[in-house]
């Protein structure tokens, strides 16, 4: 009896060990173990808000337009489109071979349904604003209008017409955002809230959702019904959240992960030595800035704001605090948007020592010296790097007669305080592009924006932004106007841009098609492995 039990135990253990060879490819399946720094919140395109689910949804669904390996716009569910002369009516021709994973065709009605669902107040979509340029969308979302008044209609099964409020040159770029992806009307009507469950989720992308164990893995399997399935290399893509970045590096080294979308930046120099070309670091469309209370004395004085901004040694912060995983920033719009030249602060090219001298002179003129210091509080949300950044700035400003105190709160408290326009001096904030256009960075400093934590209010800036919007039909002129608006913002120091983000991925040398780009977008359908 005992012998049999022992035998059974040994057998069971052996089987368990064999099965435990992680998500190892069975029967020559090609598997991509894709590490992510955080778990996705939802796979419902209308309930998402983070870049983590953006990656997953890009694999599961296909919007009207998509991004290629370099984040350039390519046709998605629509094979072509035309734009009316006034830039307000977009007519999309859907692929005739575009199908859902259940084999039914993707129709213009599905898009109409999805766009209505996104704007429906009952959906509670965080990214409903993504379709606000569409006529009637904002009204419906804010309960001032009806869905039938939205400028979206199906001309026939494969023709979708979208009418905008005004020419919006970045509209197509906005359509690359996951919030605008289609959802299967038939599936939602049939399954209700369960439509989203693994095995049931009907999607139109290169993959379908097979399993989701929160905080462990999300398994995507190749969708044989995808119109371009022949070019999709991986049979399985496992999204594996590994929050602890040091563990992720070990998992990568052990071969458990083929790529990971973050790095412990404090170890960047060592990681570069150890992993060589497998470490990918480069400019990413995001700006790390300090909001400064422009409507409160003494910060309502642009000269004072300029002095503070000038005195901050961004090179030191980028190099020492962030280990070159961030780049020094002097404009709100980071470089990397084709056709746009960011308006840099005028002192960007000055040597740091000269900047400090100039800042000191301004501060002295305003009556601030080490004997009569200026009091300044920096608020930041919990993070070792945010803290180190604030401490560095505290030290840099001290010799100039600025007495900086620091206040750390958790993320929810921090942003709740900022949104309520609480009483503060300077606060850490950041903006990551949802789509490739300067407007996404400049819009946050407009008077009416909920993200205008600085309470920046400049009629000249508003006028310049309006002028840029009016030039919607003329891309070159529009970019020039936007740059001029940014010039006003930067000269006013409406915000203090400090750093530009960079993507930092670790990618196995066996992977192909993982091409670096400013949006850090890497659809799995274009990636393959040796």
């Amino acid at each position: 009896m005992l012998k049999n039990m022992l035998k059974a135990t040994v057998f069971a253990t052996t089987m368990a060990v064999a099965a435990g060879a992680f998500y190892s490819p069975a029967f020559a399946e090609s598997v991509y173990n894709r590490g992510t720094a955080a778990e996705s919140e939802s796979v419902d395109p209308h309930k998402t808000s983070t870049v983590y689910e953006a990656n997953v949804l890009r694999d599961l669904f296909q919007g009207l337009v998509m991004q290629d390996q370099k984040a350039n716009l390519i046709p998605g569910a629509a094979e072509s489109w035309t734009v009316s002369d006034d830039g307000t009516v977009y007519t999309f021709k859907l692929r005739k071979d575009g199908t859902w994973s259940d084999g039914s065709p993707v129709t213009a009605d599905d898009f109409v349904y999805a766009f209505h669902r996104l704007e429906d107040p009952a959906t509670g979509a965080e990214y409903a604003s993504m379709l606000y340029p569409v006529k009637g969308a904002e009204d419906f979302n804010t309960k001032k209008g009806k869905p039938e008044d939205m400028g979206v209609k199906a001309i026939d099964a494969t023709t979708l017409e979208v009418t905008l409020k005004a020419p919006t040159p970045y509209f197509l770029e906005m359509l690359t955002h996951q919030a605008t992806y289609p959802v299967s009307k038939a599936s939602i009507e049939k399954l209700g809230a369960d439509w989203i469950k693994p095995g049931k989720l009907v999607s139109n992308g290169a993959y379908t959702l097979a399993e989701w164990v929160p905080n462990d893995h999300m398994k995507l399997v190749k969708n044989p019904k995808f119109w371009d399935a022949a070019t999709v290399k991986f049979d399985v893509v496992n999204y594996i959240p590994t929050e602890d970045r040091s563990s992720a590096m070990k998992r990568f080294e052990a071969g458990e992960l083929d790529s990971y979308d973050d790095l412990p930046t404090e170890q960047l120099a060592d990681l570069k030595t150890k992993f060589g070309d497998q470490i990918h670091v480069g400019p990413y469309l995001g700006t790390y800035y300090y909001a400064i209370k422009t409507d409160k004395a003494p910060w309502n004085n642009p000269e004072l704001r300029t002095a503070i901004s000038m005195a901050i040694d961004r090179d030191f912060i980028a190099e020492k605090v962030w280990q070159n995983s961030m780049l020094p920033g002097y404009s709100m719009v980071p470089p990397g948007i084709e056709g746009y030249t960011p308006a840099m602060a005028k002192y960007a090219e000055m040597p740091q020592i000269d900047r400090e001298d100039a800042a000191k002179k301004i501060l002295e003129k305003l009556g601030y010296t080490p004997e009569h210091p200026l009091k300044m509080e920096i608020r930041y949300n919990t993070s070792e790097n945010h803290k180190n950044t604030a401490v560095a700035i505290q030290e840099q400003l001290k010799p100039l007669g600025v007495d900086v105190t620091l206040l750390n709160t958790d993320t929810k408290t921090h942003y709740s305080f900022l949104e309520q326009k609480g009483d503060y001096d300077v606060a850490r904030a950041a903006w990551i592009a949802d789509y490739k256009d300067p407007e996404t960075f400049l819009g946050i400093s407009r008077k009416a924006s909920g993200n205008n934590y600085s309470n920046y209010n400049s009629p000249a800036y508003e006028a310049a932004m309006d002028k840029a919007a009016a030039a919607g039909g003329k891309p070159e002129e529009r970019m020039k106007e936007l740059s001029e608006a940014e010039r006003i913002l930067v000269d006013d120091v409406g915000q203090i841009p400090l750093l530009y983000y960079s993507y930092h991925d670790i990618v196995s040398s066996k992977l192909h098609g993982f091409v670096d780009n400013v949006m850090d977008v890497h659809p799995s359908r274009f990636v393959s492995k040796d």
Binding site: T13, A16, V17, A19, G20, A21, F22, E39, E41, S42, D44, K47, S49, P121, A122, T123, G124, A125, E126, A128, S129, N141, T142, K143, I196, K197, W212, V213, P214, N215, D216, H217, I240, P241, T242, E243, D244, S246, S247, K250, R251, E253, A254, E256, D410, T411, K412, T413, H414, Y415, S416, F417, L418, E419, A429, A430, I432, G450, N451, Y453
Partner: protein, 307 residues
């Protein structure tokens, strides 16, 4: 005894009620809400979201709704992972945390008791010093140091274990987390056992047993151990409640999908329903394990009676 257990379970109801009420209102006192984030939401979109989750109702009404749902066994939706209800998240995560916690607890009780007994029987000799040294190290080195060392040695250097992940519950994926969880507990149990065993061996009834000519084995295992085990039983209650409901550090470092991480993540995300769910689960585990400990006391020590 049954009456005692029944009475204790009845008194647990008002205790749970007080815990739930306090947790509910304390969560709402914390600044910020589930929808505050780096990208600010417009007031209209925030209102839509709040309406969807009933957060626009007055607080007392939200509380009444929550209690009503709780009585029906409905913990509500997770605000931060809207594809799952809190019940679904626990149904997936709790068995995993319980498996790891129970394995670590059993390992700690067995190994710790043996080590403690060996130390007591070899008091002030090499065996004793060795166990004391190991126990001191085990209880002072934090798990966030032990876990990466295990990953580095067993995972990367010797390639015996995976670095992380649950691997659908494969035995090999559990070794690292269980060891990490168990090591400090082994140290605590060993120290407790050593102390109580020394005391037990010096007691009158053991002297009497020896004088009667009983064998060493009989004296130690049958008579001394029974008395010595009482502090371990007391320790087991809170230790079980803590271990079985998951460890945020171990689960984060080993990427284990248990519920331990929800305790911290949910609070930081102001995921009210998930926080409440974790509070209720921990409270129930603590109440139940304290009760089990009290019952065990009566079983082990005949002097203790609850009727």
């Amino acid at each position: 005894m049954l009456r005692y257990v029944f009475r204790r379970l009845l008194t647990a109801i008002p205790t749970l009620f007080v815990i739930v009420t306090m947790a509910f209102f304390l969560m709402r006192v914390a600044p910020g809400g589930p929808f505050n984030q780096e990208r600010g939401l417009s007031p209209e979109i925030r209102a839509n979201l709040e309406a969807q989750f009933g957060l626009n109702d007055p607080l007392w009404l939200q509380y009444v709704h929550y209690l009503g749902n709780l009585l029906r066994g409905n913990f509500g939706p997770s605000y931060n992972m809207p594809d799952f209800t809190v019940t679904e998240l626990f149904a997936k995560g709790l068995p995993i945390s319980v498996q790891l916690g129970a394995s670590a607890l059993i390992l700690a009780l067995l190994l710790g008791s043996v080590l403690g007994t060996i130390a007591a029987l070899n008091q002030n000799k090499l065996g004793d010093y060795t166990v004391i040294a190991l126990a001191t190290a085990g209880s002072t080195i934090p798990t966030f140091v032990i876990a990466p060392v295990i990953q580095l040695l067993f995972g990367l250097t010797w390639k015996l274990l995976p670095i992380g992940g649950w691997g659908d519950g494969a035995f090999i994926n559990k070794v690292g987390p269980v060891l990490t969880l168990a090591l400090p507990q082994i140290a605590i149990v060993a120290r407790l056992m050593r102390g109580s065993m020394i005391e037990s061996l010096r007691s009158h009834h053991i002297r009497t047993a020896r004088a009667l000519g009983l064998s060493d084995w009989s004296v130690v295992v049958k008579h001394a151990l029974r008395g010595a085990i009482l502090p371990i039983v007391s320790f087991t209650g809170p230790a079980a409640a803590a271990l079985l409901t998951g460890s945020v550090i171990v689960e984060t470092i080993f990427s284990i999908p248990g519920v331990g991480r929800y305790f911290v993540d949910a609070a930081l995300n102001r995921d009210y329903t998930l926080v409440m769910g974790t509070v209720v689960v921990i409270a129930i585990f603590t109440i139940v394990f304290n009760l089990i400990v009290d019952v065990m006391y009566a079983v082990v020590d005949p002097r203790v009676r609850y009727d």
